[in-house]
Each structure stands twice: as structure tokens, then as C-alpha cells.
């Protein structure tokens, strides 16, 4: 009976050690995960074909230490259908894949009441990420700004905001 108890105790200790090591490993990896701290703004004139539209947007782009990000878009979209206002916040989670490149996922959209832009135009923009998918963005430092882009081309040089 004593031998059995001793064996059970040893197994329990072993399991506890395994659990503690696993937790430590996970926490260590998470803590060592790199992040970018970005808080910048810029103006973007976006010319798009098929669908044809030109969007002039004020863009505020943020990446936080906790791997959450925000892109605040406000401005106008001009197309054959007329001029529409755009005013929405895109919130997302991000991970760094390699230096200067992030994956954005779990995107949520907050649309202000004055946002009248049609979804088709918005879905053609950089920050639209269909559910369950991941989008790659390049974020590279340049002086006191960040050059934002997709994998093919930069699309905005975003200047750091004071404070």
C-alpha cells in the first residue's frame, strides 16, 4: 500500500512538473513575442479600378504592445454612384511574422452612423479581412514615420503622432 502511494505521489509530482514547464514555456514564448508600437496618421488618396472609385482618407494607424491594432478611416469615396462618406474603425489582432511584416486577423469593424460608403468599395481596401482569414501587411520604419504596405507595394507613409 505504501509502495502504491509512493508511486502515485511520484507520478503526481511528475505531472505537476510537466504542467509547470508547459505553462512556463508558453508564457515565455508569448512574452518574447515581438510587437510593434505604432501610432501614426496620414492622408491617403486611393485610386482603384474595378470597382472604380477614388477614396480620400484620413488614416490613423495603431499597433499596441498587446498585439491589438486599430485603423481609423474617415473621408470620402467618389465613384460612378456618387460621393459617399466613410467613417469607420477597423480593430484587429496582429502577429509579427518577420521583421517589418505583420499578419492581421480577427478583424472587427465599427461603423459610425455617418458612414454611407457601400461595402463593395470597402472590401477592396487594405483593411478588409474576410472572417477566418489572415492578411499580411508590411510596416517598416522610415525616419519618424512608418511605411505601410501590402506585400506588393507600399500604400502610405504614415507619420508618428506626438504624445
Amino acid at each position: 500500500m505504501n509502495a502504491l502511494n509512493k508511486k502515485t505521489g511520484l507520478i503526481a509530482i511528475l505531472l505537476l512538473v510537466v504542467l509547470v514547464l508547459s505553462v512556463w514555456f508558453y508564457v515565455h514564448k508569448r512574452q518574447n513575442q515581438n510587437f510593434l508600437k505604432v501610432n501614426c496618421s496620414t492622408i491617403l488618396r486611393y485610386n482603384h479600378q474595378d470597382p472604380d472609385f477614388v477614396a480620400t482618407l484620413d488614416l490613423v494607424f495603431r499597433l499596441d504592445e498587446n498585439h491589438d491594432g486599430q485603423a481609423v478611416l474617415s473621408g470620402n469615396i467618389h465613384s460612378e454612384k456618387g460621393s459617399k462618406s466613410i467613417s469607420r474603425t477597423v480593430m484587429f489582432s496582429y502577429e509579427m511574422n518577420r521583421p517589418g511584416e505583420i499578419s492581421i486577423m480577427e478583424t472587427r469593424y465599427l461603423k459610425n452612423p455617418r458612414d454611407t460608403a457601400d461595402e463593395e468599395s470597402f472590401k477592396s481596401s487594405f483593411f478588409y479581412v474576410p472572417d477566418g482569414t489572415v492578411r499580411q501587411l508590411r510596416v517598416e520604419p522610415s525616419n519618424n514615420g512608418w511605411l505601410l504596405g501590402n506585400l506588393q507595394s507600399p500604400f502610405a507613409l504614415c507619420v508618428n503622432r506626438e504624445g
Binding site: 515581438n34 479600378q49 518577420r98 492578411r135 520604419p141 525616419n143 500604400f155 507613409l157
Partner: protein, 269 residues
């Protein structure tokens, strides 16, 4: 001799021990007189014993003085013992003006030595069975607990390790400053590109820049510079992308930028 009364109470006449079935710890030892009185009543189970018969055989025959009052007191004590051991029915019946009898409706058995052993064994087995019955579900319930706990710990550990391994582990802390390459001066404004410019494509890039700038009203303003990028497919007249950013700077720091981005006939996805 051991009597079993109403299958609930055991009584041993040799020493006057009386105990409830299955609970020998509650054994009560009757006084000698009370023991003789109960033995008399049980020997004549179902028969009336007169007061005088009882007084003679229990007290007088043993040189003791007796009275009817004493007899009543002893009978009352015996009744209390039976009630205490769980026999609700009256065991000792009073026959008015005659005497007492042990109630014929209450079953009384006499056990021999072998029967006692059998009964004792049966009782032990019954008790043991009850204990086993009570313990079994608990044992079954908790026997698998260590295995379940071990599996849970294993699964949690495996999940944490898998998630930990999926966390990008490359050293990404050193994000390099963007390198730019001078292409030409557009008016007094320098135009830089993000990629190196080969001699063969530089002229085409310049031409395309000027073309895009004129078409879209992008002028050179004092103190501004341009950052420019165009895809090669665009240069060769196919669908592609182009990017021109005009930035105002002071002391080598950007103040603001106006970005122009063309996404030819291709979607960004």
C-alpha cells in the same frame, strides 16, 4: 442458552447479557435477579406465571426477600430494556390479578451453539456486504480520477506546448530602418524609391512618375520630397500598382505626407 426475541434482541441466560441484533457494543448485563426473572418468563413463553410462582423461583428460592412491588419494579425495568432495543410491542404482558407472561405474539427462538456461529457468520457477512456495497460506488467513482487528472494535465501541456511553438520565435526586435534610393529631382523636390533602380528602368520610372504627377495634380512644393514605388508590370503597360507619397519635412523629420496609391486593374488580395 441464547434467546432471539422478535429477531431483534439477543439474550444470553448464562450471564444475563442482552443486546440488540447486530450491535453487540450496546450489550447490557442484567442483574442476577432480573436475569432469573427474564429466564423464567422466557422458559414459560406464552404461559401465565402467577406472582407467587415468580416470587418463589426468583427471590425466595435464592434466600431473598420479595414483595409484589419489587416484582412490578423489575418487570417495568425489563420492559424498558426491550423498548430501548427497538421492540415496540409489549413483550411482558400483565395478567390482572394473576401474574405475568411473556407475550406469545412476540417470536422467541432458542439458538444452539452451531446456530449461534452460523447466525454470527451470516451477520458478519451481511455487515461486510453492506460495507462493500457502501464503498463500491465510491471506489468506482474515484478509481478513474487519477487517470482523468493525468490525461487532463497531459492535454493541457500538449496544448500549451503546441501554442507556444506556434508563437513566432524569430528575432524580430530589430526592424530595420527603411532604405531609400534617389531617383531624380522633380523640380526642386528629390524623388526617392523604395527599391534599387537599375539603369534600364530608371528612365521609365521617371517618365511614369512625371506622367502620374501631371495627371493627378501632384506638384513639387518647397521643402517636400517624394517617395515613389511602381510595380514592374505597371511599367511594362500591364495591370499593376504605383505609389507616390509627397512629404513635408523639417529638420529631417516628416511633418505630414499625402499619399497616392493606384491599384491598376488588380485587386489587392
Amino acid at each position: 442458552m441464547v434467546f432471539v426475541i422478535d429477531n431483534r434482541v439477543f439474550y444470553r441466560s448464562e450471564d444475563g447479557a442482552i443486546w440488540p441484533s447486530g450491535d453487540e457494543g450496546s450489550t447490557v448485563i442484567l442483574t442476577l435477579t432480573m436475569n432469573r426473572l427474564l429466564a423464567c418468563l422466557l422458559e414459560k413463553h406464552g404461559q401465565v406465571l402467577t406472582r407467587n410462582e415468580l416470587l418463589d423461583s426468583v427471590w425466595d428460592a435464592h434466600g431473598l426477600r420479595s414483595s409484589s412491588h419489587t416484582l412490578n419494579k423489575y418487570i417495568s425495568e425489563l420492559r424498558k430494556h426491550f423498548v430501548q432495543f427497538g421492540i415496540a410491542e409489549e413483550c411482558i404482558t400483565t395478567v390482572p390479578r394473576v401474574g405475568f407472561m411473556f407475550n406469545s405474539d412476540v417470536e422467541v427462538r432458542v439458538l444452539t451453539q452451531s446456530t449461534i456461529e452460523d447466525e454470527s457468520r451470516l451477520e458478519d457477512e451481511k455487515n461486510n456486504a453492506q460495507v462493500v456495497k457502501e464503498r463500491s460506488p465510491v471506489r468506482v467513482k474515484y478509481r478513474n480520477l487519477p487517470i482523468a487528472l493525468a490525461l487532463t494535465v497531459f492535454l493541457i501541456s500538449a496544448t500549451l506546448i503546441t501554442l507556444g511553438l506556434r508563437v513566432p520565435s524569430k528575432d524580430l526586435a530589430q526592424v530595420r530602418e527603411l532604405k531609400t534610393y534617389f531617383l531624380f529631382n522633380f523640380g526642386s523636390c528629390p524623388v526617392y524609391t523604395v527599391q534599387r533602380n537599375s539603369a534600364s528602368l530608371s528612365e521609365q520610372k521617371k517618365d511614369l512618375f512625371i506622367e502620374l504627377a501631371k495627371e493627378n495634380g501632384i506638384d513639387c512644393l518647397e521643402g517636400t520630397s517624394f517617395l515613389y514605388q511602381v510595380s514592374e508590370s505597371y511599367l511594362y503597360g500591364n495591370k499593376g500598382r504605383a505609389f507616390i507619397s509627397r512629404c513635408t519635412s523639417r529638420n529631417d523629420k516628416y511633418i505630414s505626407c499625402l499619399n497616392n496609391y493606384w491599384n491598376g486593374y488588380e485587386r489587392t488580395q
